[in-house]
Symmetry: C2
């Protein structure tokens, strides 16, 4: 019987990008611009990797494992400050993921129950300004050459997929809604989010949300713990049966966690020639499986590689 | 305590598009071009809906329910013919979904086991030509006005998301890899697929696969049964622990299933003014939640509505 098409997607590379351990094929010494993704990552040096600031990392501990989230204070300073306060106060501990809408988002926080008072937010602020975008001028925006239908330009800012628009004189930039993006749920008023109710994109990039809601970070590790949650059968993917909710053991800032309990993790820098070469290796696949290189890549098709530091 | 942001994504509309039942808000009598998606669907007539040919529908029955797939003989006639033969021979009955790669695909068929002979394919053909694309000339291609980075034009053909390229004189068209697209896994040789090993896209549209593999259809209903499958921890999302595989009870053509056991289902036609209005209502959201309409939509962000026929 024939093989079950292991090459279907040349996905060895994708797998390697998610978990570098196990990508053991030695890379041939070829020029940067013709190497495969795997070869490029194998040729990377420590300077190509960045260790996120523990004060910007949230650990969401579930029964199934840990989700590691990087916050983006450069884009949503007030929300990130509030989320840090909420995490320090143990706001989410014992709460749940209460919504999972197929091909869209999961959401967590303090779901309102009839007759049950909400959890107090302690010293966190109940109300925050909308932080849908920010001035682009003083941002290290590493643009992609690829066209994007949703925004004038797209690229990366310190590892975060982002977009910008300079057409109105004063350029604005914002985090793009890609797989793994973390946002702050709101009601009808643009300034009605305070960071207590957060969602993670689990489906096709819902870029229509860009500039309509405050995005606060992205998941670096553990997406597979969120993406498999059963889909809710209520409107918007809310669980009709509360027993389907996934309990959150606790959410902490990495900086508040003893060093020995932290998850060692590095993210590929997105402002380097190596990263440009990695993107190019995804834009035009070099492995023999592909007969028709795409010549294009969408912002949200780029997974920024994450690794366990070699020293740990 | 504030509401958990039920409006986060104006997702009532999205939910309605997936399951029209329950979308009870009466639509105000407004012009077609300014109506919300929900209002448009409520205003649809029977002529706006299409009942797929039962000979083109595959039912994949799992313990958790039924996945309904529509085959696309217009794009992959040889593969679809073979898949019909395989289904009639009960080829997949008792086999499994053996691979789930996060943000990518699930795959099913007859996984090769060391020392275990493969399942016979009966009168199906062991080898087929590659059907990566086809002539565009005689195809009813309903184009979107929206720009696409991957192809010269994108749009729909009888409900299937598709792309085309007329730049080389003889125009070619192909099914696009969107959420729910069904493809035929292959090995290194372009003509190494025969339809026994099939994959369904469960992640961000992997359009780089377009024209590199044969696409054969798309899932109309039941994606939430596939998208939640645990992610495999082996390379490419293969399950290292075979007990994690999801058994397939059976896969049949709807036309081979007694009428009383069929799943009544209709798909919104994609070649009508109503469909154009639905797409426009997603391109520029009309509900009050949005402060910044996108002015654009990507092909793979369009979910073609499916409904249970009102008569059934």
């Amino acid at each position: 019987m024939r093989q079950p098409s292991r090459h279907i997607l040349s996905a060895t590379l994708a797998a390697c990008m998610l978990a570098l351990a196990g990508c053991a094929t030695p890379g041939a010494p070829v020029a940067l611009e013709t190497r495969s993704t795997q070869q490029l990552l194998e040729a990377s040096t420590d300077a190509d990797w960045r260790t996120p600031d523990p004060a910007n990392l949230l650990y969401m501990d579930l029964d199934g494992g840990r989700v590691v989230i990087e916050l983006a204070p450069a884009f949503a300073p007030e929300h990130v400050a509030n989320i840090r306060t909420l995490a320090r106060g143990g706001f989410w501990d014992g709460l749940s993921l209460y919504r999972s809408q197929d091909n869209f988002v999961v959401q967590f926080g303090d779901i309102t129950e009839e007759g049950v008072p909400g959890r107090p937010i302690g010293s966190a602020r109940a109300s925050l300004p909308a932080e849908f975008d920010r001035a682009a001028a003083d941002l290290a925006f590493h643009a992609l050459p690829d066209a994007d239908g949703w925004a004038a330009r797209v690229g990366f800012v310190d590892g975060f997929p982002a977009a910008r628009d300079d057409r109105r004189g004063n350029g604005r930039a914002w985090l793009a809604h890609c797989y793994g993006t973390l946002g702050a749920g709101r009601d009808m008023a643009p300034d009605s989010s305070n960071g207590t109710e957060l969602y993670v994109v689990t489906g096709q990039s819902p870029r229509q949300l860009d500039r309509n809601i405050t995005t606060v970070g992205r998941v670096l590790q553990g997406m597979e713990l969120l993406s498999v949650l059963p889909r809710g059968t209520g409107p918007l993917g809310f669980y009709e049966d509360p027993s389907l909710r996934t309990p959150i053991r606790r959410i902490r800032l990495a900086s508040d966690v003893p060093v020995g309990e932290r998850t060692p993790l590095q993210v590929l820098r997105t402002d380097t020639p190596l990263f440009d070469a990695v993107v190019e290796s995804r834009r035009n696949r070099r492995d023999d499986w592909y007969v028709q290189p795409a010549g294009h890549i969408d912002l949200c098709n780029i997974s920024v590689p994450v690794r366990t530091p070699p020293s740990s």
